[in-house]
């Protein structure tokens, strides 16, 4: 296990290096010069050249890259062109909001999907199972932003129970903040429910057919005790890893979802950065989102390896 973790950490370092290369490369072949973006279209060639020299943009690319990477290591991501603020500060302000959304969504998904999955498994191939599976299939097949819009339409526009969007800090007004959190988090939670439910169902089915469950039944234990005390405990193990993967999926989905609900997290920050061609901010956002996405996938892999020894000893696949 120890070796496995070390190897994976090594891989992650290599991947992270490649990620910085990709982020740097992509943003450096962007049409539109940083200096031109700052000075506007009426700038003279002379003033552009001066600013380029000031920003160090006339240096060789690899020097610029190294400079940027060493800055990253110190937590310095440069200054946003649009907001005239340090990129790191902007991200530090927005990131917790996105994490709040993704974590709440994952919790909602878990609360819905595990009981549903268990219920489907003990009623295998009967009406509740078929209904739950169909529900899961539709859940997977609709994009997260569509769930968001449907939820807005139903709960905000038609029934007027929750606000259509926006964000209030929980420290400022907890009730308003929670009310604004409900719809986006449920929309995303709903989309995640399907996968976790399917995994719970199949894992439960596998456990329920095991010898020790048959023994427990033969000893005359009630269905309730067998399912909840004996089966679920083991069935939930593979589900945990799926939950970890789903969290990273949720985090990846916030870019679109935040736009739907006007949620000022890192997703909307990325979009704003892209729309205003704010290169330092684009780079910063890409790196941070990729890093969190990688870390949660890595955690899922570790959990998977921890629970399934075949992975640990049989190489990295």
């Amino acid at each position: 296990m120890y070796n496995y973790v070390l190897r994976r950490v090594g891989f992650m370092a290599v991947t992270l290096f490649l990620v910085t290369l990709i982020a740097f490369a992509v943003t450096n072949i962007l049409p539109g010069d940083v200096a031109l973006v700052i000075l506007g279209p009426n700038a003279t060639e002379e003033s552009i050249a001066t600013l380029q020299a000031q920003l160090g943009l006339n240096r060789p690319l690899y020097i610029q890259y190294l400079d940027w990477v060493f800055g990253l290591l110190r937590g310095d991501m440069g200054e946003s062109l649009r907001f005239s603020e340090p990129v790191a500060a902007l991200i530090a302000e927005r990131l917790p909001r996105s994490l709040l959304l993704a974590v709440t969504a994952t919790l909602i998904a878990v609360a819905l999907s595990i009981p549903l999955g268990v219920y489907a498994a003990i009623n295998q191939n009967e009406a509740p199972d078929v209904t739950a599976s169909m529900f899961a299939f539709i859940g997977i097949s609709m994009p997260i932003f569509l769930w968001g819009l449907v939820f807005i339409l139903v709960f905000a526009v038609w029934f007027n129970i929750f606000p259509t969007g926006g964000y209030t800090s929980p420290t400022e007004n907890l009730v308003a903040s929670l009310r604004q959190l409900v719809l986006p988090a449920s929309a995303m939670g709903f989309a995640l429910t399907a996968y976790i439910m399917r995994m719970t169902r199949s894992s439960m089915l596998e456990v329920l057919s095991a010898e020790y469950i048959k023994l427990a039944r033969a000893k005359g234990m009630s269905q309730r005790v067998v399912v909840l005390r004996h089966a679920l405990k083991n069935a939930v193990i593979p589900v945990i890893t799926v939950i970890a993967f789903q969290f990273s999926y949720a985090f990846g989905g916030v870019v679109v979802l935040e736009e739907v609900f006007f949620w000022p997290g890192i997703g909307r920050l990325t979009l704003t950065a892209i729309q205003s061609r704010d290169i330092p901010l684009i780079q910063g956002c890409i790196i941070v989102v990729a890093l969190i996405y990688m870390i949660s996938n890595f955690a899922a892999d570790l959990l998977y390896a921890y629970f399934d020894p075949r992975i640990r000893y049989g190489g990295d696949e």
Binding site: L18, V26, T27, F145, V256, A290
Partner: protein
């Protein structure tokens, strides 16, 4: 019954397919037909393709036929899905929009298959350092959430439909490559590869004419599932304004416009949304069903 007849008809050797190949195809067709999910998926996908191909004949109005006095009308006999803010017929636009979704779905995944399958199979067959380098590069591309990577690429390429295809092909290549690699890895130790090596065949020949055909099943399953992801991604990108541009009838773009008329004209949003749902369910079911049919070992969970 139908299967038996089919057997009889093709029973004679027509010199085109070998006996065992015919048996495999028959076997596949029988399993496919008895798999409800695969059949429903196939019916949806074929219907979509038919709609897309004959779209100009099905759509009663042109996609940009505006009529100011008819704007934001509720669904009626004349306009079964209602009209939008410019008085365009939504039914016609949804029908014509199927072309965009399928174009992006098939286009992007064909690209991803072309590159991903070749790279993946080579990586799995070669092993060692080649494999290590290729897979680390693929990991790096997969370290980005798909929509974010596509967005970033579109910023560079510019918001055009063809660029959406290119960006999504790039995004899904590593997923195809990973599946192809593990398939090739499993085939590498098979007896037929050893005997080909013993016969002195070149690696290139072994990879492309021996290993590759045997890896097709999992690769195709992954491909058909990824088409649904690509359709979703196109809708998301167009929704964000970085995919198809107005006045193209992209479903994602229609939803983006409809969002502003949610209270007065919810049909502007509902029908394109429904279209996306149906298309994605179709490809998902087909992919899931294919997986059940081609590889009974793997459960239909991802």
């Amino acid at each position: 019954m139908a299967v038996e007849q089919h057997r009889d008809e093709t029973g004679e050797d027509d010199g085109f397919l070998s006996e065992s190949q015919k048996e495999r195809i028959d076997n596949f067709a029988r399993k496919f037909r008895s798999n409800t999910k695969a059949m429903v998926g196939l019916i949806i996908v074929v219907s979509l393709i038919v709609v897309a191909v004959f779209a100009p004949f099905i759509a009663p109005y042109g996609m940009n036929e505006t009529s100011i006095e008819d704007r934001t009308q509720a669904p009626s006999v004349e306009h079964p899905f209602g009209t939008d803010d410019l008085g365009r017929d939504i039914f016609s636009r949804v029908v014509l929009g199927s072309r965009i979704s399928l174009y992006v779905g098939f286009g992007a995944i064909s690209g991803a298959l072309l590159v991903g399958a070749v790279v993946g199979v080579i990586s799995g067959y070669a092993g060692g350092l080649t494999d290590e380098i290729i897979m680390r590069v693929m990991d790096a591309a997969m370290a980005f959430p798909p929509v974010l990577l596509a967005l970033t690429l579109l910023v560079v390429l510019g918001p055009e439909l063809v660029n959406v295809v290119i960006a999504l092909a790039f995004v899904y290549t590593p997923y195809i490559a990973r599946v192809s690699r593990s398939a090739a890895l499993a085939e590498r130790n098979e007896a037929y590869v050893e005997s080909a090596v013993a016969r002195g065949e070149t690696d290139t020949r072994i990879v492309f004419s021996e290993v590759f055909p045997n890896c097709m099943a999992p690769i195709l399953v992954q491909g058909s599932l990824n088409i649904s992801f690509a359709i979703l991604a196109e809708a998301s990108l167009s929704f964000l304004g970085l995919g198809a541009q107005p006045p193209r009838p992209s479903w994602g773009l229609m939803i983006n416009t409809g969002r502003g008329f949610m209270e007065t004209a919810p049909w502007m949003l509902l029908f394109p949304a429904l279209a996306i749902g149906i298309a994605v369910v179709g490809f998902n079911m087909l992919g899931d069903g294919l997986r059940d049919v081609l590889d009974p070992k793997v459960e239909a969970i991802e």
